[in-house]
Symmetry: C2
Subunit: 220 residues, 2 copies
């Protein structure tokens, strides 16, 4: 097609991973540009002057920002394979609702787990598990959130999976016992090449969290 | 069409107003049900068990939640007139970006203006004006955000206009001088019947803010 596709991204960004998965699902070839978030590139500042954040997808010179907006754009432009959003308006609204829930609840719940200690951490852990239990219930016995095939909500949520080892090891919050269906779902997603190749290793994330925790609280 | 459409709403909800405007633009007849947010109805709790918030659109018994998701749903279902989102995927992504900016920045900036005093209020006012200046620049010389016709971004932003009198009178923040194009745009939108009939009077909002301010800080 002669399309020029560039992704400005950062390896451990949950939001960047969503875009990587969407591009992989659609089989779109692109140039990946890793950003140094401590020293953002002139290209990032030019392409996302409002938020100055990754990910940014640059398609034939034009920028698209905000991960879920980028994923919807990818789904609309490369629409000949792997539909991510359902075609029915009601189901589409439901998919958008759950992706929005993930952005509003799951991201914050995870951020609160590791940087706390003692009672504060206990309260955060409880909230964390409750947020995931809601998703476990929504998933139910379906193989994917979208039903029989991997879709928009799966893609919005699965990047959090690479943080689970860090949550479990450092925060002592294991979702294995609390949300077994969700863990089975995550493992199912990880068997897809589009997902596996878009997510960093759980231990690499763990190493990063350990380092951040030491910087914040000193050694154990 | 025999559609049953019910809107669970609350008169001064910015988010509810968006849905009212979208329904008016499409000419959809619906039953408006005012919620008492201090004593939420069993119907609201049943229809939005996750967030328990208005607005909720109930279409033939099925609930759709979150204002921008509802508006997209309305645009997709009643698609024979007044398209709200652009048909081009890139323009649609841009419209979604600005509606998201409004949700992330404009709402918070407004909430910070009136409940503060002294220096804190001055800092909030500066931020408030900056947030709107970004929108003023995006609007430029176009009659509407979407171009020649009223659309998704216009609909996402215009409900804030009914708070402007309160901001100006209580917060002493006037956007008239700072963002003249935006004020002209707002007045243009208010000439549309779909908008005018969906927004409460500015003075009714002012009365409410005055009351809240007294409750929080006592009399002047």
């Amino acid at each position: 097609m002669g399309d020029e596709v560039i992704l400005l991204d950062f390896w451990r960004s949950i939001f960047g991973m969503r875009v990587r998965i969407a591009l992989a699902e659609k089989g779109v070839k692109y140039e990946y540009k890793e950003e140094d978030l401590g020293n953002k590139s002139p290209l990032l500042l030019e392409m996302n002057p409002i938020h100055k954040k990754i990910p940014v997808l640059i398609h034939n010179g034009k920028p698209i920002c905000e991960s879920l907006i980028i994923v919807q754009y990818i789904d609309e432009v490369w629409n000949s394979k792997s539909a991510l959003l359902p075609s029915d308006p009601y189901e589409r609204a439901q998919a958008r609702f759950w992706a929005d829930y993930i952005d509003k609840k799951v991201y914050d719940a995870g951020r609160k787990v590791w940087p706390r200690k003692g009672d504060e951490m206990e309260a955060s852990k409880k909230e964390f598990i409750e947020v995931y239990k809601v998703l476990e219930e929504e998933l139910g016995d379906k193989p994917y959130f979208g039903g029989e095939t991997f879709g928009y909500v799966d893609l919005a949520l699965i990047p959090f999976y690479c943080w689970f080892y860090a949550y479990g090891t450092i925060g002592n919050v294991s979702l294995e016992a609390e949300c077994p269906k969700l863990i089975a779902w995550a493992k199912r997603c990880m068997q897809k090449e589009s997902v596996a190749k878009s997510l960093p290793d759980q231990r690499k994330i763990y190493g990063y969290v350990l380092e951040m925790k030491k910087k914040r609280f000193g050694s154990e």
